[in-house]
């Protein structure tokens, strides 16, 4: 089967103007994403994990086409996104939909829920009759667990979890081929998180869509993903099957991420070793030489700073971007 989405050596660069500079000084280049490659098969869920500022959302925006990529290729369904015209890109967005992080902010406060959910439909198929639009909106709202008679309500009358369901309904009304969820549950309560994740899982199985699930919390991602990509400063640290990554993390960064997930058992939680990461994410304007993670890596060696140290090792089905990695069994996630 050919992948539905194929990202090869993707890099996204932003121009940053230093404050107080002259208008004609060349802007600084901020590389938000560099050398990123992954494929998504139809019906598969890819988890994208990393801390804030690691470029996860930028990847999502590059795939959807709202942020131009400066290098590499994004091929969706056989078409290269960078080469699309403006109108072709608008049509492309019919097949790729997105669920956002802040459920309430993602809904226009002046529009009724029915109008919000219908918007993609009305945009791409203006010829569909109103009764038909209404029927399909009702159908999809029922599918995400909302009563269809709520269509005339406004977003502020709903709870966070309900708002996220509305966001999911809007994303699904076009029956897209790829759904990108940009931290869809990080703004929700833990109990609601589980509901939304289960809903997404169900819908995915139902409609057979592919999904990119972005989160900074590995424990959420491992529930829903078939494969996981761990990102740091815009680069892949580790990528492989979800089971393999969460059970036997190889990269020191993945190990640190996993150890930061609390275990709901105080005895185990106290006993386990914790490679705690110190310091902040380095500035992407001035990334470290060699391996970008070396400034915070507990296992860093002097030669990690040498250029060319950020190369991939393939081990089993797992890509590891570290020469000194070792397999370590994670206690639990």
């Amino acid at each position: 089967m050919s992948p539905i989405l194929s990202v090869t050596d993707l890099s996204v660069t932003f121009d940053v103007r230093p404050p107080g500079a002259w208008p004609w000084t060349p802007p600084l280049k901020l590389q938000a994403v560099g050398g990123l490659s992954f494929d998504i098969e139809p019906g598969e869920t890819l988890g994208l994990v990393g801390e804030s500022g690691s470029g996860k959302s930028t990847v999502a925006r590059a795939i959807i086409g709202t942020v131009p990529h400066s290098g590499g290729r994004i091929v969706f369904d056989g078409k290269e996104i960078g080469a699309m015209s403006e109108s072709a890109r608008r049509r492309h967005r019919k097949d790729v939909q997105m669920v956002f992080q802040d459920p309430l902010a993602a809904l226009n406060p002046r529009m009724t829920v029915g109008d919000i959910v219908a918007e993609p439909l009305v945009t791409h198929h203006p010829e569909v009759e109103r009764a038909e639009v209404k029927r399909r909106v009702g159908e999809i709202m029922e599918r995400v667990g909302l009563l269809p008679n709520l269509v005339n309500r406004y977003p502020h009358e709903f709870s966070g979890g309900q708002c996220q369901r509305i966001g999911i309904a809007r994303a699904l009304v076009m029956r897209p081929k790829l759904l990108i969820c940009d931290e869809p549950v990080s703004a929700l309560d833990v109990s609601v998180q589980a509901q939304v994740v289960n809903l997404l899982k169900e819908i995915q199985a139902d409609m057979g869509l592919s999904m990119i699930f972005i989160a900074h919390d590995l424990s959420v991602v491992k529930h829903i993903s078939t494969r996981i990509v761990v990102m740091y400063l815009g680069r892949i640290m580790e990528a492989g099957p979800a089971q393999e990554i969460t059970r036997r993390p190889r990269h020191p960064y993945t190990q640190a991420l996993i150890s930061s997930v609390p275990i709901p058992d105080p005895v185990l939680e106290k006993a386990r070793p914790r490679p705690i990461l110190e310091g902040e994410l380095p500035s992407p304007l001035n990334p470290p030489s060699g391996c970008v993670f070396r400034t915070r890596c507990p296992k860093a060696q002097p030669d990690c700073a040498e250029p060319g140290r950020d190369r991939m090792d393939r081990e089993g089905g797992v890509l590891v971007n570290c020469t000194y990695h070792e397999v370590r069994d994670a206690l639990a996630v």
């Binding site: 959807i64 709202t66 890109r89 608008r90 049509r91 492309h92 967005r93 019919k94 790729v96 939909q97 997105m98 956002f100 992080q101 802040d102 902010a105 993602a106 809904l107 226009n108 406060p109 002046r110 529009m111 009724t112 829920v113 918007e119 993609p120 945009t123 791409h124 008679n149 709520l150 269509v151 005339n152 309500r153 406004y154 502020h156 009358e157 966001g167 809007r170």
Partner: protein, 308 residues
């Protein structure tokens, strides 16, 4: 068992009821506005003034242009406001019925204010929203244009225009329309910059909605609150502006009149013991302005309760 069945039937009926109507943000704001007594009083006054301006001539006994020659030279004691003569507000210095004149003047003043505010709302909001939404170089060019237009002393230009092209109500509308949208476009642009970064706009972009549709569907409705508030405060500003022009004698032309022109005429007769000539137009001028200010304040409190 029977009860449970009845419950089930009831439940089904409720589910089948028509769709639940939501309370929009507008409905919420309306509720807050109605609870604000000063604002509602202002609105009532405004409605009364508008009724007076547009239907007052029905009550008038004289045409506004009709000069009562029998009162010539005797205005001060025979042209006083009285119900018997039919000159409810007395006569002006030329022996014309002041009631009819005030009705006419209030109408012109209201029109000037509303036209100015309307131009500001339509042109200013769209201009500012487009500049803010598109951003980049377009934004720079559009907003610098506004800056340049703002730096021109418009009162001076308008007076020159009125002198060169002749005094006409059209020129006045044109002049007021030209300046009123500048401030509005700046306000709209500033708000658009913050709305543009909200996730629902990004969601619309990601859905593939066209940029101009996004401006109309997602940006402008969210600008509406501040635009409405600002435009209700703009109407009195325009009325004052027009009155000032008319007070200088450059505004509307005779036989048309406006509140400013009437106050001007009344003021010139102050020493002759005919204070009503200034008093009545001034009264309508003041209550209109106050009513607009109260309504504007009420709308501001109603539309963004957070910023109170």
């Amino acid at each position: 068992m029977k009860l449970a069945q009845r419950d089930a039937v009831l439940l089904e009926e409720t589910m089948g009821l028509a769709e639940i109507r939501g309370r929009s943000l507008w409905a919420d704001a309306r509720g807050r506005f109605i609870r604000n007594k000063a604002a509602v009083a202002g609105l009532v006054v405004l409605v009364l003034v508008a009724l007076f301006a547009f239907f007052g001539q029905v009550l008038a006994q004289y045409e506004p242009q009709h000069v009562d020659f029998s009162l010539m030279g005797a205005n001060a004691w025979r042209g006083v406001p009285s119900l018997e003569t039919g000159h409810y507000f007395g006569v002006d210095s030329d022996g014309r019925d002041l009631f009819a004149r005030t009705v006419q003047g209030t109408r012109i003043s209201l029109l000037v204010g509303i036209v100015g505010a309307l131009v500001a709302v339509v042109v200013g909001t769209l201009y500012g929203a487009v500049a803010g939404y598109v951003g980049g170089r377009t934004d720079q060019v559009m907003m610098r244009t506004v800056d340049i237009l703002m730096s021109i002393p418009f009162m001076f230009v308008l007076i020159l225009m009125l002198v060169i092209f002749g005094r006409s109500i059209f020129m006045l509308f044109l002049g007021i329309g030209l300046i009123s949208w500048l401030d509005m476009s700046r306000i709209a642009r500033g708000q658009t910059l913050s709305i543009k970064n909200k996730e629902f706009v990004e969601a619309a972009v990601a859905t593939g909605v066209r940029p101009f549709t996004i401006i109309l569907r997602h940006v402008v409705p969210n600008l509406a609150g501040i635009v409405i508030v600002y435009s209700t405060l703009l109407v009195p500003q325009m009325i004052i502006f027009e009155s000032f022009i008319s007070y200088l004698g450059l505004g509307v032309q005779e036989p048309m009149t406006s509140l400013g022109a009437l106050i001007n005429q009344g003021a010139s007769q102050m020493n002759n013991g005919t204070l009503w000539m200034m008093g009545f137009p001034l009264f309508f001028f003041l209550i209109t302005l106050f009513a607009f200010f109260f309504v504007g304040d009420g709308l501001r409190d109603a539309l963004d309760p957070k910023d109170r």
